[in-house]
């Protein structure tokens, strides 16, 4: 949607590790989605005067960054966490498998377009038949792509209905990890913020870009799926790359210091991606999820008013790190490994046995780690005049049965921080692998188009 006036936006500007390119429009249009290059402005009506890239690329403004939509894995998982989130869970209203597939085709095409800075449809917000509504809602026109990623997942209820019904002939494809999450101690889940057949995570550095994505995808879903709940997030609470500084949650503490990072490829294979062996262990045919992962979403309200009147001593004791630097209380700096054996006065451990850092640490969780990608949220206030604020916890894991449920049971039962936390929403989704590069059906303008032959996220589930 970028206007073609700024030469900076004419340049491909993927993540630092994306392949550089300085090709003109024709090459970009063909390769753009296949090769993960930016095609901002390449849609009909946007490409005029951009057949060549005459000057060397100036430094890319952060807002005009794009990430490839295609790849082995979906984007928006190991992608350096953007600052903003809009996540939507959908209930599928379609009853036929064909309608469901058609929805996924529409969504995949739109996502491929939006993430590359294109409009949702080929005409864009201000062109096309005059007596038809525009094929893009328009609020992202003139804005740069802002690093938008769109990630899709499937909930258990897509496979098995509430009454056990096999809604779309997928029951025998249900992966073993897509369980009903148990009730965790002190859970106070709102059914209206829990579950969903499908999930769409849109992340961007500009909230309007993320909202624009969900809005256009929701529009494309009418008649096939309807929004069940959504969550806006700001101030990413995790870093997913070593290049990112550790951000802070609404308790004021650094969050995600020990997160699995994009650069740790061996750890990603061990803790995030679903291995081929998982399908072999399943009673069902779940090979379609190989290379995918699971998304755990938990809306965790923080009782920030009572937290704020808690002494610094108690705050640090409960977390197990100091507030200023994020160093473990056993000593060192932020990235020093906690030493749970270090004791202080009366031989008590410096990192308390009920502290969050201890109970969440791999040493006390059979070595498991998670890739967290959470965000802060503030959804107005409650009737008591308190902020309805907290942490929207998002974690991508290889299997929630080993990598989430045991740890959450332990935290919910014993974590001292629980006094200040309340889980109010929940979702678990299987996130299929990515769409293959070069598989899109392209229109006359060289941009992706939805046809009966278009590829889609999770295609292996339906074939």
């Amino acid at each position: 949607m970028s206007a073609p006036t700024d030469p900076a936006q004419d340049q491909p500007d993927g993540p630092p590790d994306a392949s550089p390119a300085s090709d003109g429009l024709s090459r970009r249009a063909v390769l753009g989605l296949g090769g993960g290059l930016a095609v901002a402005g390449a849609a009909a009506g946007f490409g005029v005067g951009r057949l060549t890239a005459p000057e060397p690329a100036p430094a890319v403004a952060a807002g005009s960054r794009t990430y490839p939509f295609t790849g082995t894995h979906q984007a928006g998982i190991v992608t350096p966490a953007q600052d903003r989130l809009y996540l939507a869970a959908f209930d599928v209203t379609a009853t036929s498998r064909d309608d469901l597939v058609a929805l996924l085709q529409r969504w995949t095409t739109i996502a491929a377009r939006l993430t590359q800075g294109l409009s949702a449809g080929p005409y864009g917000p201000a062109s096309g038949p005059y007596d038809a509504p525009p094929d893009d809602t328009g609020e992202a026109a003139d804005l740069p792509p802002a690093g938008l990623t769109i990630t899709f997942g499937f909930g258990r209820s897509l496979f098995v209905g509430g009454d056990g019904a096999d809604r779309f002939g997928l029951a025998d494809r249900l992966p073993g990890g897509l369980v009903d999450l148990p009730h965790f101690p002190a859970d106070n889940l709102d059914p209206a913020r829990t579950g969903g057949d499908l999930v769409v995570q849109a992340c961007a550095d500009d909230p309007q870009i993320a909202v624009h994505a969900i809005r256009n995808l929701s529009r494309a879903a009418f008649g096939a799926a309807t929004i069940r709940w959504t969550q806006l997030g700001y101030g990413r609470t995790s870093s997913t790359s070593t290049a990112q500084k550790t951000p802070r949650n609404l308790f004021g503490f650094k969050d995600g210091t020990a997160n699995v990072k994009a650069e740790e490829t061996a750890s990603l294979d061990e803790h995030v991606w679903v291995p081929a062996s998982a399908a072999a262990a399943d009673a069902t045919d779940s090979a379609w999820l190989t290379g995918g992962c699971y998304l755990v979403a938990r809306r965790i309200r923080m009782r920030i008013e009572t937290w704020d009147r808690t002494s610094l001593r108690e705050q640090e004791d409960l977390v197990g790190r100091n507030k200023g630097e994020g160093a473990p209380l056993s000593g060192g700096t932020e990235f020093t490994e906690p030493n749970f054996g270090t004791t202080g006065r009366a031989d008590q451990p410096l990192i308390a046995t009920n502290s969050h850092v201890r109970l969440a640490h791999p040493d006390f969780n059979s070595g498991v780690r998670m890739l967290r990608r959470g965000y802060n949220f503030t959804d107005g206030n409650d009737s008591l005049g308190r902020l309805d604020a907290g942490l929207f916890f998002l974690a991508f894991v290889t299997d929630p049965r080993t990598h989430y449920i045991p740890m959450q049971n332990q935290l919910s039962k014993s974590d001292g921080l629980m006094e200040y936390l309340e889980h109010t929403g929940s979702g678990l989704f299987a996130v299929p692998p990515g769409v293959a590069a070069g598989s899109f059906v392209l229109g006359a303008d060289g941009t992706p188009l939805t046809t009966r032959h278009s590829p889609y996220v999770g295609q292996a589930l339906f074939t």
Binding site: T306, R309, L329, L384
Partner: protein, 401 residues
């Protein structure tokens, strides 16, 4: 509370903002006439050194920014002239960690000491606090008052626990005998004794969850016991309030076990608080008072504690009672250290008690929580916040004394 006290507090409330205004408008006093540079000093603690950035500081608020530059856990002390009396301290500072020691110091001679490895007498140096002209509270004169507060609070806890076990036995007997009306009548007033001292019970590990867990607090498959287990059986929910499932009343055998377990756990609490080594320190009383208000803010004001019986206001009043008793024991110290805080706390306690009195009392019964209007709940929550905020200053005021 007598009428005359209420009147005096109302007057204090009127006077307070004016007094506070005067204080904040005065220039920062400075003994040597230089501009009020804050008394901020850095301390570097290593295996063999305790480097304090200056050996002298003006009286008033002094901040030691202690950095552990060594490889052992360290402590930092400000000691009196005799080298024995601890004026203040920070402990458990891990290697590489920084922590502030903020102390109100009167003019005089002191010692600073780092204790790397937390053994021995530490690495000491003489330290002088010069007279800045700032008035500093009566540091050191409060030991007896704190001691008295600690003794009184232990007596209060034993008294409440004594009443609790007596009431619990009566309640359990009625419930076992199938006299549900009597059990329902005894439920809330008996629990008040528990709620007044709840943080004490919480300090005994599993006793709190065994006695007071709500259904939502349980892990999948965990056995439920205690007050709320019986509450649900006495105020049996309809299916739509029970996750869509019909509630199955407890059998007589289950009733008897539930009642006996409750008495048993309560007896364990009685035994714990009557051990000779059961003591309370002033900071624990102060933290406990704040914790009681947190209980109100998190559970009672939202109506989540007594989800079947809706007797939350009994718990609410009892939590406030317990916090007030904790505060009142320390009130003389607070009065001396920070009279404004003392006045504000008196006022806020009075306000919240007045608000609760509109809905009844523990003796005569309260309004059922589900019958309160949204505005009434909001007013209660606002009063809790108004009291909790100054109450959160209690610990630092008492430990700084």
């Amino acid at each position: 509370m007598t009428r005359s006290t209420v009147g005096a507090l109302a007057l204090a409330a009127l006077v307070l903002p004016l007094a506070a205004g005067c204080v904040s408008n005065s220039p920062t006093p400075s003994g040597d006439g230089t501009s009020g540079a804050p008394g901020v000093l850095s301390v570097s603690s290593t295996a063999d050194a305790c480097d304090v950035s200056a050996a002298t500081a003006p009286s008033g608020t002094i901040t030691f920014q202690v950095k552990n530059d060594g490889s052992d856990v360290t402590e930092f002390y400000l000691l009196g002239e005799d080298g024995l009396r601890v004026i203040s301290e920070v402990e458990n500072v891990g290697p590489g960690i920084s922590r502030d020691l903020v102390v109100q110091a009167r003019p005089g001679k002191y010692f600073t000491a780092c204790k790397p490895g937390m053994v021995g007498d530490g690495i000491r140096a003489a330290f002088t606090v010069t007279d800045s002209g700032t008035e500093v509270g009566p540091t050191g004169d409060t030991a007896d008052q704190l001691k008295t507060a600690e003794t009184q609070y232990v007596a209060y806890v034993k008294d409440q626990v004594g009443a609790l076990i007596a009431g619990t036995k009566e309640f359990a007997a009625a419930y076992k005998a199938g006299d549900d009306d009597k059990a329902r009548e005894l439920y809330a007033p008996t629990r008040a004794h528990w709620e007044r001292i709840e943080p004490v019970a919480e300090s005994f590990g599993d006793l709190d969850p065994l006695t007071d867990a709500r259904e939502a607090d349980l892990e999948d498959g965990q056995t439920w016991s205690g007050w709320h287990y019986i509450e649900k059986d006495l105020w049996q929910p309809t299916a739509d309030k029970n996750g869509g499932k019909d509630y199955t009343p407890l059998t007589q055998a289950e009733r008897e076990k539930a009642a006996d377990d409750l008495v048993g756990y309560t007896q364990q609490l009685v035994d714990q608080v009557n051990k000779p080594d059961f003591t309370f320190e002033a900071f624990q009383i102060a933290n406990g008072a704040k914790a009681l208000l947190d209980e109100v803010a998190n559970g009672k004001v939202t109506g989540e504690e007594e989800i079947w019986s809706h007797t939350d206001l009994w718990d609410f009043q009892a939590n406030v009672d317990g916090a007030r008793v904790g505060y009142e024991g320390l009130a003389d110290v607070v009065e001396a250290e920070n009279p404004d805080l003392a006045a504000e706390l008196e006022q806020r306690f009075t306000e919240i008690d007045a608000l609760l009195a509109e809905q009844g009392s523990i003796e005569t019964g309260f309004t059922s929580y589900d019958k309160l209007s949204k505005d009434q709940v909001k007013a209660l929550a606002t009063a809790v916040d108004a009291l909790s905020e100054p109450l959160s200053q209690l610990t630092t005021t008492v430990t700084g004394a």
